[in-house]
């Protein structure tokens, strides 16, 4: 049972490239469990990613067709493949900087056109691979390699952005909500049209060490404390909501 997903991984690979404590390994695991649970044969899947740590989740690990593209451009590459061969179940997996900053225009236009893609945005709120610079998702006041005095800008609310652009399905989960996240991936894969899933995934190496999270466990604990479901949020006063992160299905 513990090794039943090995059939989904390329046999040549013995380890992932992720740092200790990175959330992307959990996400990788849950994506494959979702594909397995949905009963989708890997021959029908196409995994497309951009540039950055999260782009390495499918490429080269997944034993299926994978397309590792340019920084920011995973969505248009995926759109071309999907439009030409609609039989390809096309799943884009990339990071927040890749999909929502350099690739932000592609994201909103694919949502507007409702292109039949599923997009998983692994949001670690920072540029991890390049050394921890501020991202369009870094919370105001956080410390990064380019905001030594605290980030002066507010971050995107990605789910509101993609919802406003017209996506068929929009949801947010954290890697600390594994079962809900796996079910969310399965629901997104079943959607006809553009489905978007924001996944909060901690980056202890670049974000945590600059923002007073001394261990990966502290980052995970913080995510568990801050994430509330939509149903829970509805019962909370504005003050109580504070810096909580609302998770669940938004469209």
């Amino acid at each position: 049972m513990a090794r039943d997903l090995e059939a989904y991984l390329r046999a040549e690979l013995k380890a992932t490239p992720f740092c200790p404590g990175c959330g992307h390994g959990i996400l990788m695991n849950l994506i494959l469990r979702a594909v397995d649970g949905a009963g989708i044969p890997m021959e029908e899947m196409l995994f497309v990613s951009g540039i950055g740590c999260a782009a390495w989740i499918p490429s080269p690990h997944f034993r299926g067709d994978t397309l590792h593209t340019l920084h920011g451009r995973a969505i248009p590459f995926a759109a071309g493949a999907k439009l030409f061969n609609p039989a390809l179940r096309t799943l884009v997996i990339s990071g927040d900087g890749d999909l929502t900053s350099i690739g932000g225009n592609h994201l909103i236009h694919a949502a507007r056109r409702d292109t039949d893609l599923t997009v998983i945005c692994a949001n670690n709120q920072i540029y991890g691979m390049t050394g921890g610079q501020a991202a369009s998702t870094s919370p105001r006041g956080t410390f990064t390699a380019t905001t030594n005095r605290g980030n002066p800008h507010r971050p995107f609310d990605l789910c509101r952005l993609v919802r406003a652009a017209g996506a068929s399905s929009v949801a947010r989960y954290a890697v600390t909500q594994p079962l809900a996240l796996m079910e969310g991936i399965q629901r997104a894969l079943a959607v006809e049209g553009f489905s978007f899933l924001e996944v909060l995934s901690p980056c202890p190496t670049q974000f945590g060490r600059r923002n007073r999270f001394d261990t990966p466990a502290e980052m995970l604990r913080s995510l568990m404390e801050r994430c509330v479901t939509r149903e829970e949020a509805e019962q909370m006063e504005a003050e109580e909501l504070g810096d909580k992160i609302v998770t669940g299905e938004f469209v």
């Binding site: 390329r10 397309l67 593209t69 071309g80 999907k82």
Partner: protein, 380 residues
């Protein structure tokens, strides 16, 4: 190498088309079934015709949010099995360059039509130039090779677009149809042949898609959805597609192969056309629309018994080094008129032993025959 001969899509015979329409029809005849683009003068007619015609022939048309998305979606469609293209002009061509390098490194066969306008910058959007040849050759970072065509007529906009698709698939390389505004908007008669011969993409199940070169030095080209577990990446990779980003040998092998497969095949790629060269003392080397003016000027001088000739470059890259070397041995001088500030004159200078005289014009207009005639007279 396997080919298949199919019926032309347009009825065979004479058609009256603009150059841009001819690019679209040539692409469709060559089996192009995916087009993605973004509006830009003076190339937009290619996209408009593809929007209509792809619908008729069961292909896919996508108007994207910008030129970057356009070329990236074309690459995605190619790996999904399509013959695919995009078209653009100066500023859009600049935006596409990163993806051109991606296509070169991943050996993605695709066609890009660049209908050149006066630059740099926004320049003169509706005016002609031929200033993108060095960009086509060197526009993306790193070392790679491309194939470029320089059509001088509407007929060649059709014929060379067909050839561009064939050579792209044969060598797994991005290929450019470097039209100029003047030929893009020119209307002329085009003879459409009854049939067209198409190169078939090599597919050998299980063969490494990025190594173990085939007869042309080109690996097998599988598509997504064929159960091949394809691993495509724009990072340095081995024959199976695994990233090798810290292996000096892997990088050297890959960069060498994507360059050498084109350099070794130069003889099967380069196309030139000789006019009045047999007894000529001074030759014009010209390409694209400028070659029309050059031929007119050469014929005027010939009527007076002046021994001028023309070597027309139908391909600009890879460069016709051997042909220019041979020409240089036979001529006293070579004149290179072009709608830029000497981009190709410099290449001619590298290969020709005789005197090479550049004649650049960058005023947004075609080079008139009388200006070439005047330049030629000075060289006798």
């Amino acid at each position: 190498m396997s080919t298949v001969t199919v019926q032309s899509l347009l009825p065979s015979g004479t058609h009256y088309l603009s150059g841009n329409e001819a690019v679209s029809e040539g692409a469709l005849a060559a089996g192009c079934r995916y087009y993605a683009g973004y509006p830009i003068t003076p190339s937009s007619e290619i996209m408009e015709r593809m929007a209509d015609r792809l619908d008729e022939v069961g292909g896919v048309f996508a108007q994207m949010e910008d030129e970057i998305a356009s070329i990236c979606s074309v690459i995605g469609a190619v790996w999904a099995g399509a013959r695919a293209m995009t078209a653009t002009s100066g500023p859009g061509f600049s935006l596409m360059q990163e993806a051109v390098g991606y296509a070169a490194l991943t050996e993605t066969p695709m066609v890009i039509a660049d209908i050149q306008r006066a630059g740099p910058g926004t320049g003169q959007a509706t005016r002609v130039a031929s200033g993108d040849h060095m960009q086509a050759r060197w526009g993306s970072h790193g070392d790679y090779q491309v194939i470029t065509y320089s059509p001088w007529s509407v007929q060649e906009m059709y014929d060379l677009t067909v050839e561009a698709f064939n050579q792209a698939d044969r060598f797994r390389v991005p290929v450019f149809v470097m039209g100029e505004e003047a030929v893009g908007h020119l209307r002329e008669q085009v003879e459409v042949p009854p049939q067209v011969t198409l190169f078939q993409r090599e597919k050998r199940a299980g063969a490494p898609p990025f190594g173990e070169a085939g007869p042309d030095g080109v690996p097998s080209m599988p598509s997504f959805g064929e159960g091949q577990n394809l691993l495509v990446t724009g990072s340095t990779h081995d024959a199976r597609g695994f990233r090798r980003t810290d292996d000096p040998g892997a990088h050297e092998r890959l960069v060498s192969r994507i360059n050498e497969k084109i350099i070794r095949a130069r003889g099967r790629i380069v196309r030139t056309e000789a006019h009045h060269l047999d007894d000529a003392r001074v030759a014009v080397v010209a390409y694209g629309f400028t070659a029309r003016s050059a031929l007119y000027a050469v014929r005027r001088l010939r009527k007076e018994g002046i021994r001028a000739g023309l070597l027309r470059l139908q391909t600009v890259w890879p460069f016709a080094k051997e042909e220019i070397r041979t020409l240089g041995r036979a001529m006293d001088r070579i004149l290179v008129p072009e709608m830029n500030r000497g981009q190709i004159a410099g290449e001619v200078l590298k290969s020709a032993d005789c005197e090479v005289v550049p004649f650049g014009q960058t005023n947004g207009e075609i080079i008139r025959p009388d200006r070439i005639e005047e330049q030629l007279r000075r060289l006798f």
